[in-house]
């Protein structure tokens, strides 16, 4: 069975699974970046690490990148030149308010399906696709239920396990004991082991009441409409992913703003930690607006993923929360 390695939340795991492949949504290892041999200066460390992960693929594995930012789009091109395994670049439209945008996303899903079929997979029947979607929807509901009672780092790690297509270890996880200054972490994706940042925040006297990173609940697709799922599974998939996931690359970005306003209010967050990689323009631009929109203090936490980054991050979190507490 082909394993499809990817990182974008806009690539539906159930679509890959229904085509007979194993979806594996990665949090790339920052240590893989060097393997990419891509330039360091000016390049997003996350995109560089994902390109490095693609370099390490072997027979039976393929990489799927998404066009959700320029850096990732170009990292896909770099990986396509160098990686030993096939690389597929999924065109996620930036616009979303037109039928043409949704049609392009749908066409890209179908193109991905053909790509997987060429690698030995098969196009699913409508019923098979609906079955697979239903199964993922059930598992995702269990995941959502569990997230509400888990401590922030455990919640993030459980999502990562789900994304890797593993059975999340929902038993024995640490239960959330809310204390500390309530903060929201909003921004780009996490790399391997980055969930430790939630512990660093607690150590600094805060508590994460909202994980709005690309690796958190913000990018979970909407629950499926079970009736429509049986009649028009592909369109339901398009709506749940393309129609519902808010992100900084979308134009206009009103869905992200609405999501942020709603979730900040319901979570009780009193400050925002904006998690972004150096050279990430989309989230850097959003940092200034987030504070204006919410009227909350914002820590623009630019992370590099390199050696020493953890200590810098911890120091900045400590200083930020010291001022707020």
């Amino acid at each position: 069975m082909t394993t499809v390695v990817y990182s974008s939340p806009f690539v539906p795991a159930e679509w890959i699974a229904a085509h007979g492949a194993r979806p594996k949504r990665l949090r790339p290892d920052p240590g893989a970046a060097a393997r990419s041999a891509a330039p360091v200066a000016g390049m997003c460390p996350y995109a560089r690490a994902l390109a490095g992960e693609a370099m390490a693929l072997h027979d039976g594995q393929v990489a799927v990148f998404a066009t959700t930012c320029d850096q990732m789009r170009r990292a896909a091109g770099w990986a396509a030149l160098e990686a030993p395994a096939p690389v597929f670049l999924f065109n996620v439209p930036a616009t979303h308010a037109t039928p043409a945008a949704a049609r392009l996303y749908l066409d890209e899903l179908r193109r991905l399906g053909r790509f997987l079929a060429r690698l030995g997979g098969s196009e699913p029947s409508r019923d098979k696709l609906a079955d697979v979607m239903e199964s993922y929807d059930d598992r995702r509901r269990q995941l959502r239920d569990a997230l509400g009672i888990l401590a922030p780092r455990e919640a993030s790690e459980v999502i990562a396990e789900f994304d890797r297509d593993e059975r999340p270890r929902l038993q024995g996880a640490r239960r959330l004991l809310p204390h500390g200054f309530p903060v929201a972490v909003v921004g780009g994706p996490l790399m391997l082991n980055d969930a430790q940042v939630f512990d660093r925040i607690e150590e600094a006297g805060g508590v994460v009441v909202l994980d709005g990173t690309e690796s958190g609940v913000r990018t979970l697709p909407a629950p499926f409409d079970r009736r429509r799922l049986r009649d028009e599974p592909v369109l339901e998939l398009v709506d749940a992913y393309f129609g519902r996931i808010p992100d900084a690359f979308r134009r206009p970005d009103e869905a992200l703003i609405a999501w942020l306003e709603r979730e900040l209010a319901s979570s009780g967050a009193r400050a925002i930690i904006l998690w972004r990689y150096v050279w990430c323009d989309l989230w850097a631009a959003f940092a200034a607006r987030a504070g204006e929109l919410a009227g909350l203090p914002v820590l623009d936490l630019d992370v590099s993923g390199d050696e020493g980054a953890d200590r810098r991050t911890a120091n900045r979190l400590q200083a930020f929360l010291e001022v707020l507490r």
Binding site: G42, Q71, N91
Partner: protein
């Protein structure tokens, strides 16, 4: 500059015919364009006209607004929407993106980058963030009646900055530019201007997006934009492109070099939106071409014979660096300033919206870096370039990897030296480093010529 201003005065005294906007460059220095004092110019009436045309664009836009014309701010697509807008009567289009040169021309006295910084757009962003400052201080271009912006396969800097512009109360018509990819075996392929190909489905998507732009333009102008008007707009755009093609052919191949690099950069820029006056841009380019033809015929040039032939990739934020190349013994032998799709002829044997969609999709920024590298290799070979210079734009999301892809491809296939430089809006403090890099490139070329 003094020489050019003297020329202007002499021609005026002699009663030589000059367009109304032509005048001494010192008037622009008085208005704050201090970089003009540090540039070296071609001392011809054609160059005087070119510079005067460029430097009076904001006045032209304000006059158009005062005269009741509708103003379209086209953003990012670099060459497509203006072709459509100028097909309508009483509509003028320009690129607010062009404000990226304002900090250079005004040597940072404009304060645009400071305003951008105050809005969260610091040095990690491309200098095009100056556009944001211009929307805020309203001291440069008039605020357009309609703003369009292509998004999708574009640089993140621009997408983020444009979103900030919209958040400040300037609604934008966003239109999708898909990432251009090669057609798959089961897809119908379409040949694009410039030699790339794309699936027919992508062309159809861009066409449908441009139809939305067409509707917005019609609503703005209050008159229909039919295929006949568009076809005429395409023909006029091609008139500009043909002039530029011949100008580039002569300027980049004739020896001695008949036109300096700086004037060629400005001339090429006219292709994207005609500097807000399509008819006049044709006359300006025709003048320049006539001057170049005369020089070639008389075997006259502006540089020493046998200068090192350098293909230049990306526009520079500091115009002075174009002079520096020539100071170091180099000359232009081809360019790719990120808008080769605005230089290639638009097909006139197709329905105009189909032709425009194909042209838009040929944007070098929309496709893989490897495509762009292939085009650069081809053009560099055609112009006989002996070296390739990749000028990185500080902070630009595409430059880090793209430069590496281009450099590697060029080294492999053309086997010519490649250098990457980075040019900020005012590069004075970096001039010694840049000079050393350019001199080393020229020396390498000269060394390779030795038998």
């Amino acid at each position: 500059m003094e020489e050019l201003d003297l020329l202007c005065e002499r021609r005026r005294s002699a009663g030589a015919p000059m367009a109304a906007y032509v005048g001494p460059l010192r008037r622009h220095v008085a208005e704050g364009d201090r970089r003009l004092l540090r540039l070296q110019y071609d001392a011809s009436p054609a160059a005087l006209r070119l510079w005067s045309f460029l430097l009076t664009e904001e006045e032209r836009l304000h006059e158009a607004r005062a005269a009741g014309a509708k103003i379209v701010g086209a953003m990012k697509d670099l060459g497509t929407v203006p072709v459509m807008a100028y097909a309508l009567p009483n509509v003028v289009a320009f690129y607010p993106d062009g404000a990226w040169w304002t900090p250079c021309v005004m040597e940072l006295s404009d304060g645009l980058l400071r305003i951008a910084q105050s809005l969260g757009f610091g040095e990690s962003f491309c200098p095009v963030r100056a556009m944001l400052g211009a929307f805020v201080d309203r001291a440069h271009f008039p605020i357009p009646d309609l703003l369009t912006c292509s998004v999708g396969a574009v640089c993140d800097d621009f997408s983020a900055i444009a979103q900030r512009v919209e958040s400040l109360g300037h609604p934008i018509l966003w239109w999708e530019m898909p990432h251009r990819r090669p057609p798959e075996p089961d897809e119908t392929a379409v040949e694009l201007p410039g030699g790339f190909s794309a699936p027919a489905s992508q062309v159809a998507l861009v066409r449908s997006e441009l139809e939305r732009v067409r509707s917005a333009l019609e609503a703005l102008a209050g008159s229909p934009l039919g295929d006949a008007e568009l076809a005429d707009g395409v023909a006029q755009a091609n008139c500009v492109r043909r002039l530029l093609a011949e100008l580039r052919r002569l300027a980049y191949t004739a020896d001695p070099c008949p036109m300096p690099a700086l004037e060629m950069l400005i001339a090429e820029m006219l292709a994207i939106h005609f500097c807000s006056d399509r008819a006049e841009s044709i006359r300006v380019l025709a003048d320049l071409l006539e001057e170049v033809r005369r020089r070639v015929k008389e075997n006259r040039g502006v540089l020493a014979q046998d200068a090192a032939r350098v293909f230049w990739v990306n526009p520079v934020a500091d115009l002075r660096v174009m002079n520096l190349l020539e100071d170091c013994g180099g000359r232009l032998a081809g360019t790719e300033f990120l808008f080769s799709h605005a230089l290639d002829l638009i097909p006139e044997d197709l329905p105009p919206m189909e032709a425009l969609a194909r042209m838009a999709l040929a944007d070098p920024m929309a496709g893989p870096s490897a495509d762009r590298a292939a085009r650069i290799e081809r053009d560099a070979r055609a112009f006989g370039a002996e070296a390739v210079l990749v000028s990185r734009i500080p902070g630009a999301s595409h430059c880090a990897l793209e430069g590496a892809v281009i450099a590697r491809a060029v080294r492999r296939t053309l086997a010519v030296p490649v250098v990457e430089i980075e040019v900020p809006p005012v590069a004075d403090s970096m001039m010694p480093t840049l000079r050393a890099q350019l001199e080393a490139l020229v020396e390498t070329v000269m060394e390779r010529r030795k038998p």
